[in-house]
C-alpha cells in the first residue's frame, strides 16, 4: 500500500504494524464489515415485509391462509434458527434449479436425484457454470439473505401479531361505530397504533439479527469471521508478515465491533421509543404529557 512497505522484513514496531494492517487482505477484511452492514440493511426491511405478511395472514378470515400464517409464526419456536440457515439456502438452490430444469430441458428423462447426486441439465445450473466468479458470490449472498429474511420474518410476524392484538379493542370498536370497513380499520386505526407496542419486540429482534450476522460464515460467505480466522492464523516465515497465532486478537476485535453495534442500536431505539410514545395512550405517553403540561 505505502512505498515504505515494499520490504516488510526490514521493518519492526509501529511501521511494521501499520504496513501489516494495510495489506490487501486486511482491506478485504475491513470490506467484509461492510458485507455485514449490507446484510443488515437489506435483510431488515425484507424481514419486516415477511413479518407483516405473516401477521396479516395469521389474522386472515380465510382458513388456509390463517393456517399458513400461524405455521409460519410458530415455526421458529421449536426449531433452532441455525437449522433454517443451513436448510433454506440449499433447499432454495435445488428448488430453483429443479424449476429451471423443468422449463429449459423438458425432454430430459434421467432422474434428477441419482444416488447421492443432484443432476440437472447444464442450462438449468444456477449460476451457469460459465458465469464469472462474482456471479457465484452474489448468488451465494442472495441465498443467505433469503434465509435470514425468512427466519427473521417469522420472528417479526410473532412480534407484529402480538402488537396487533395489543391495540385496545375500544379503538377498533370505535372505528366500527364510525362505519369503517374492516380494511379501513386495519390500515387507518390498527396499523398506525400498533408500532408503539411492537417497538420493544422489534428492537429486540434487531439486536438478535445483529448477533446472528456472524452465522453468514456457516453459509460460505467470506464474512468477518472468515477473514478473522484467515488472517489470525499463525503465519510462517514464508509469508511477508510472519506472526504467531493471533486469532484471539482478531476475535476480540470482532467482539468489540459487535458490542458497539448493539450498544449504538440500543441508544437509537431508546430515542425512537421516546418519539413514538408521544401522544399515545400508554404509560410512557402519559408521563410525557404530564412532563410538558
Amino acid at each position: 500500500m505505502f512505498e515504505s512497505c515494499a520490504d516488510p522484513s526490514l521493518l519492526d514496531g509501529l511501521p511494521w504494524l501499520a504496513c501489516y494492517l494495510t495489506t490487501g487482505k486486511h482491506m478485504a477484511f475491513y470490506g467484509s464489515f461492510l458485507t455485514v452492514l449490507a446484510l443488515l440493511a437489506i435483510t431488515a426491511p425484507f424481514a419486516m415485509l415477511f413479518g407483516f405478511g405473516g401477521a396479516m395472514a395469521a389474522r386472515s378470515d380465510i382458513a388456509p391462509l390463517r393456517w399458513l400464517g400461524k405455521t409460519y409464526t410458530a415455526m421458529v419456536r421449536g426449531v433452532p434458527d441455525i437449522v433454517f440457515f443451513l436448510f433454506v439456502p440449499i433447499a432454495m438452490d435445488q428448488g430453483l434449479e429443479w424449476l429451471r430444469h423443468k422449463v429449459k430441458c423438458p425432454d430430459w428423462d434421467a432422474p434428477i436425484r441419482q444416488g447421492s447426486d443432484f443432476v440437472v441439465c447444464t442450462a438449468a445450473k444456477l449460476p451457469l457454470s460459465n458465469a464469472p466468479q462474482w456471479a457465484h458470490e452474489v448468488y451465494g449472498f442472495a441465498l443467505a439473505m433469503i434465509a435470514f429474511a425468512i427466519v427473521f420474518g417469522a420472528f417479526a410476524a410473532n412480534v407484529l401479531s402480538g402488537a396487533m392484538t395489543a391495540v385496545p379493542v375500544g379503538q377498533i370498536e370505535t372505528a366500527a361505530a364510525y362505519g369503517m370497513s374492516k380494511r379501513q380499520t386495519f390500515w387507518r386505526i390498527l396499523v398506525p397504533q400498533m408500532w408503539v407496542y411492537a417497538l420493544p419486540g422489534l428492537s429486540n429482534l434487531w439486536q438478535i439479527l445483529v448477533k446472528a450476522t456472524p452465522l453468514l460464515f456457516l453459509l460460505g460467505v467470506e464474512d468477518i469471521v472468515y477473514w478473522a480466522r484467515e488472517l489470525g492464523g499463525a503465519k510462517t516465515s514464508t509469508f511477508s508478515y510472519p506472526h504467531p497465532d493471533w486469532r484471539l486478537y482478531y476475535f476480540l476485535g470482532l467482539l468489540v465491533f459487535y458490542l458497539s453495534l448493539t450498544q449504538v442500536s440500543d441508544t437509537v431505539f431508546q430515542h425512537l421509543m421516546r418519539r413514538l410514545s408521544h401522544g399515545q395512550a400508554t404509560l410512557a405517553g402519559e408521563a410525557q404529557r404530564k412532563a410538558t403540561a
Binding site: 419456536r77 433452532p80 441455525i82 447421492s116 410473532n158 412480534v159 446472528a212 478473522a228 486469532r247
Partner: protein
C-alpha cells in the same frame, strides 16, 4: 442391516459407543433417524448442564447487579453487557482460541507448601470448553431476566417480610427469591428453550467434533452433505427439536404451577412465548 441392528450400531455413536465408521453410502431413513437422535444426547447434555450451573451464577449476577456496592455491581453489569451484547458464535470462537493458547502442559499453581498443576487441555474439547461458554452465556441472559424480576418484586411483599421480623438470608430465601423466580419464570422458560437451540452451534464454531462424535445438527449436516439432499436430514433434526421444546415447556410449566400454587388459578401468569432471547 435391519433397523434394530442400526439402532444397536449407531444409537450411542455420538458418545463413542458402537460402530466406529459412520455410514458412507446407501443411507437409509433409519440410519438418519438413529444417528441424528444419538446426536441429541449432546444437545441435551449441553443444555441441561449449562442451565443448572447457569441458574446458580445467574442468581448471583442478578443480586450483584442490584447491589448498592459499586465493586460488586460494576463487574456484574459488565459481565451481562459483554455476554448479552456479543454473538454467541463469536464467544465460541474467542473461547476456543483462548483455550488453545493456554499452555499444553498445564498451569503450575504454587501454594507455598505444595505444587498443583491445573490441566487445561480438556478445555479445548467441546464437552468442556463449549459447556463453559454456554454456561457463562446463559448465566448472563438469565441474570438480566432475574435482575428485572428482582426489581419488580412488590414492595408490599418485602414490607410484609419486615413486619414478620424476617431479615437477611431468611428474608431472601423465603420471600425475595421465590417471588423473583415466580416473576421471572415465563421469560426464563424462553431462555431455556433458546439455550437448547443454541447448543446446535457448538460443532459449527471452532470446537472440532472429535472422532465424528457430534450433536444432532452435526450429523444432519453430515447426511445433507453426503446425500446432497437437505429435505430429509434437516426436517428430522427439526422434528427432534420440536419434541425437545415440548418437553422443556412441559417441565417448566410444571415448575411454574408449583411456583404459583398459592395463587388463584386466574391470577397465575401463563408462560407465553416471546422471541427475545436467542443470541
Amino acid at each position: 442391516m435391519t433397523c434394530f441392528e442400526t439402532i444397536q450400531a449407531y444409537g450411542l455413536r455420538s458418545i463413542g459407543i458402537g460402530e466406529r465408521l459412520l455410514p458412507r453410502s446407501d443411507f437409509t431413513l433409519c440410519q438418519q433417524f438413529t444417528l441424528i437422535g444419538s446426536g441429541m444426547i449432546w444437545n441435551i447434555y449441553f443444555g441441561v448442564l449449562a442451565l443448572i450451573f447457569g441458574f446458580v451464577l445467574a442468581t448471583a449476577v442478578a443480586m450483584g447487579k442490584a447491589s448498592p456496592v459499586a465493586l460488586i455491581r460494576k463487574p456484574s453489569e459488565w459481565f451481562i453487557f459483554v455476554l448479552r451484547g456479543s454473538p454467541l458464535f463469536i464467544q465460541f470462537f474467542l473461547a476456543y482460541e483462548t483455550f488453545v493458547l493456554l499452555p499444553k502442559s498445564g498451569i503450575d499453581i504454587n501454594l507455598g507448601f505444595t505444587h498443583l498443576t491445573a490441566q487445561t487441555s480438556w478445555l479445548t474439547k467441546a464437552w468442556a470448553g463449549a459447556l463453559v461458554v454456554l454456561f457463562l452465556n446463559t448465566a448472563a441472559y438469565s441474570g438480566e431476566i432475574f435482575y428485572g424480576a428482582l426489581r419488580s418484586v412488590p414492595k408490599g411483599d418485602l414490607e410484609a417480610a419486615d413486619a414478620y421480623g424476617l431479615t437477611g438470608w431468611t428474608k431472601f430465601r423465603r420471600v425475595t427469591w421465590p417471588t423473583m423466580l415466580r416473576l421471572a419464570w415465563p421469560a426464563y422458560t424462553n431462555e431455556a428453550i433458546f439455550l437448547f437451540h443454541a447448543t446446535t452451534l457448538v460443532y459449527f464454531s471452532g470446537f472440532p467434533a472429535w472422532k465424528q462424535q457430534g450433536d444432532a445438527l452435526y450429523y444432519a449436516s453430515y447426511f445433507a452433505d453426503k446425500t446432497f439432499n437437505p429435505f430429509v436430514a434437516y426436517p428430522i433434526v427439526a422434528g427432534y427439536f420440536v419434541l425437545l421444546t415440548l418437553v422443556v415447556i412441559t417441565i417448566f410449566g410444571q415448575v411454574n404451577r408449583r411456583l404459583n400454587r398459592h395463587l388463584a388459578p386466574a391470577a397465575r401468569s401463563r408462560i407465553r412465548y416471546r422471541p427475545q432471547l436467542i443470541r
